[in-house]
């Protein structure tokens, strides 16, 4: 049948099972929005306050559901406002499809009103992008975009749609989504055998798990594999939840703000098995000292990650789920590493996740929050101290329920992402743990929370400063608090209320359980402003350039 380009886009979205899109209209996407209007019963469009919020919402939707998140923006400033959101999704391998309008083909390249070369701009921050210049290519471009977003290592894909491509007509034939198999084309029998051999010869094997395990829905396979190998595991920020935080085998986060046990174990082990992780500098710190007593097996779906930051002695390229299943079969009989596991248990006793006085209150708030939340709640964060506290003190049990901007470190990520997570999971609770510095960046999305009456709870840790930067200024810049104090008389409660969102205050004297419970019980959007001391710090930490086991602020137990 003959349809307009805009209708073809909608039909292709339906082919992919898209039910929710996030966006903001404008001149160059008018035809697309007209088609959305006509199809409002099958595709729900969520109007955000700003295109960046739409991009983060699509990202949060994708991370929390495993489906592709979709965002729409108009040409020019609409498109450029997506950039931070797309870069965030790119760094954390999140499948997002962004649709942007552009001026008609005849006006392209003439610096027309609201024209911008968004494919040029987003080339380094998308897995791939397109500008459609022939309407006959439109349907397959959308299909391919979804395929690329999901296939292998996921990532964002952008399609730029000149206005005449939305208006023009073309023959449309429905198609099923192109099937995606877990990627294993580069999986080699020899490397699997080598990995098994290394595992068999190791006496102190240690796992370092990353977000790849979450993306490939392989957490259960990973947990089984840990049992089979009888070894402990540390996680990168993105890998939290892959192993249950309450598991005996879990040593905590690894790297700059990781646990002493994780960092020591990685430095002392004789075999490090890295699963779906990429040796980020926040994990590795001083690369020459990283895992210096160990051989490294690197398992990842992306061949370009192999030997990029750290050279491994064995690498297995393929979907981690497939790889772990194949390795399990080859290993067969469970391994035993009793001595090593005993050592880990001793270290865990000696270096418990305990707090210094400088993070007592945030820890109390986060621990209490966990108590009053159901187990399957989604925790979203912004970026900074509160993010690290949420990573350290929350017990991450369910894979994929901790949404945070790990790679790009995007302040302002949380509110948009929690909107996406809540739309993707209407029956689950979503909490955004925020800091005052991050939250003010995109607090305009309170308007979206209010408009759709989403029961998102924003736990706003207010220390009246940019805490993480201040922490570094305290430790490394002679307490020169250059532009990090946010001492404006901002009333967060009034701000929330102005947007039509509830505001609650948790002062230093209040019981967090009472206030947080009351906030959750509202079943409506609410900002809970939590006062925390200005000089609270994230500990332990690895000083820049130091080996990871050299940590500041470690608390030892008296054993």
């Amino acid at each position: 049948m003959e349809l307009t380009g805009a209708q073809i886009i909608i039909e292709c979205l339906k082919e992919q099972g898209v039910t929710t899109v996030f966006g903001f209209p404008g001149g160059s996407v008018l035809p697309l929005y007209d088609a959305l209007y006509a199809n409002r019963d099958s595709i729900r469009h969520i109007l955000t306050a700003h295109e960046q919020g739409a991009a983060h919402a699509a990202d949060g939707y994708a991370r929390s559901t495993g489906s592709v998140g979709v965002c729409i923006a108009t040409s020019g400033p609409g498109a450029t406002n997506l950039v931070t959101g797309l870069a965030t999704a790119y760094m954390d391998s999140v499948p997002v499809v962004a649709l942007t309008g552009n001026v008609p083909l005849s006006l392209l390249g003439r610096d027309s009103f609201q024209e911008v070369d968004i494919t040029g701009i987003t080339m380094p921050i998308t897995k791939h992008n397109y500008i459609v210049k022939d309407i006959a290519d439109l349907a397959n471009t959308v299909r391919e975009a979804f395929y690329i977003a999901k296939e292998g290592r996921p990532g964002p894909v952008l399609i730029d749609l000149p206005k005449d491509m939305q208006i023009g007509k073309c023959e449309y034939m429905p198609e099923k989504p192109w099937p995606i198999e877990p990627k294993a084309s580069r999986l080699r029998e020899a490397s699997l055998r080598q990995a098994v051999e290394l595992l068999r010869n190791a006496t102190k094997p240690m796992f370092y798990v990353g977000g790849g395990v979450i993306r490939s829905h392989a957490a259960q396979d990973f947990r089984n594999f840990l049992e089979l190998v009888d070894a402990p595991a540390a996680a990168s920020l993105m890998g939290l939840g892959a192993v249950s935080s309450s598991s005996d085998r879990f040593t905590g986060m690894l790297g700059m703000h990781g646990t002493k046990v994780s960092n020591m174990s990685v430095s002392m082990c004789d075999l490090l098995i890295v699963v779906g992780a990429r040796f980020s500098d926040r994990v590795v710190s001083k690369s020459s000292a990283f895992a210096r007593n160990a051989k490294i097996i690197h398992i990842d779906v992306d061949p370009a990650e192999i030997d990029k930051n750290i050279t491994s002695c064995c690498h297995v390229v393929g979907d981690v789920k497939v790889v772990l299943q194949r390795l399990s079969k080859m290993i067969g009989e469970p391994m035993k590493h009793e001595q090593w596991m005993d050592q880990i248990r001793q270290w865990k006793q000696r270096y418990p996740i305990r707090v210094t006085e400088e993070s007592r209150r945030p820890r109390e708030i986060i621990r209490t929050l966990q108590k009053v939340l159901p187990k399957d709640a989604f925790i979203v964060t912004e970026v900074g101290q509160h993010q690290m506290w949420a990573a350290q003190y929350f017990k991450h049990e369910v894979p994929g329920h901790f949404l945070t901007s790990g790679g790009l470190g995007t302040m302002g990520y949380g509110t948009g992402a929690s909107i996406g997570a809540q739309f993707g999971n209407p029956s689950k609770r979503v909490v955004n743990i925020a800091g005052d510095g991050s939250f003010r960046m995109n607090c305009n999305e309170l308007a979206t929370l209010a408009r759709y009456q989403l029961p998102v709870v924003i736990v706003l840790m207010n220390n009246h400063c940019l805490g993480m930067v201040r922490q570094w200024q305290t430790l490394f810049y002679d307490k020169h608090y250059s532009e990090t104090t946010l001492d404006t008389p901002l009333d967060w409660i009034k701000l929330a209320e102005a947007y039509g969102v509830h505001g609650m205050r948790l002062t230093v004297d209040d019981d967090p359980a009472v206030v947080l419970k009351a906030a959750l019980d509202l079943g409506q959007p609410v900002v809970v402003e939590c006062e925390i001391p200005i000089d609270d710090k994230v500990y332990p930490m690895v000083a820049p350039g130091a080996p990871i086991e050299d940590m500041l602020g470690v608390v030892e137990a008296d054993v």
């Binding site: 380094p124 791939h128 084309s185 080699r188 020899a190 490397s191 061949p303 370009a304 690498h315």
Partner: protein, 181 residues
């Protein structure tokens, strides 16, 4: 590891903007391009980019893998010094006088350079060859004074009878990947 020059042949979809994707990737990951040439192939839907890059082995492996990830890249193949023929064409305008013209032409003949144009004060030459040959020739021309020069960048073909299109992309041996070797 020692830095060396490596020549990569990259087959890409012949779309607009593909060259920018490849070149942009080199610049943002900090890989320096020494030479670049691009043109269509026997298959009009495929273009071939030849890039010479300096780096150590690990850097070149990383470059190859990053380039392979681009959706529009069909194949990346490393052209070794002995396993391939590598040529560049250079057009050079050399300053001459009545006295020096003969010696410039003699040198050109030794290098099998072609005389394209002669004026009372200059001579324009065309030379084809590998980087070494072109380098030595230009060194010899330098004292006379090079007025202007234009180079095409290295282009390369593998020796032997097969075509790059025949090489199994996923076979690590064929793409020169260190994997499993």
């Amino acid at each position: 590891m020692a830095e060396k020059q490596y020549t990569l042949a990259i087959l890409v979809n012949n779309h607009s903007g593909v060259l920018m994707r490849v070149v942009g990737l080199f610049s943002r990951r900090g890989y320096n391009i020494d030479s670049l040439s691009v043109g269509i192939t026997e298959n009009p839907s495929i273009s071939r980019i030849t890039i010479v890059v300096t780096g150590d082995r690990a850097v070149v492996e990383q470059i190859k893998k990053q380039v392979e990830k681009l959706v529009d890249v069909i194949k990346v193949y490393e052209m070794t010094r002995h396993g391939s023929v590598q040529r560049e064409l250079v057009l050079v305008k050399v300053r001459t006088t009545e006295q020096t013209r003969t010696s410039v032409v003699e040198l050109a003949e030794i290098f099998k350079a072609k005389v394209l144009d002669v004026t009372p004060s200059t001579i324009s030459l065309q030379l084809t060859g590998g980087l070494d040959k072109i380098g030595s020739f230009l060194e010899l021309m330098n004292p006379y004074g090079i007025v202007e020069m234009s180079r095409t960048g290295i282009t390369a073909l593998e020796r032997g009878s097969r075509s790059l299109c025949d090489i199994d992309y996923e076979d690590p041996g064929a793409v020169g990947e260190r994997a499993d070797q």
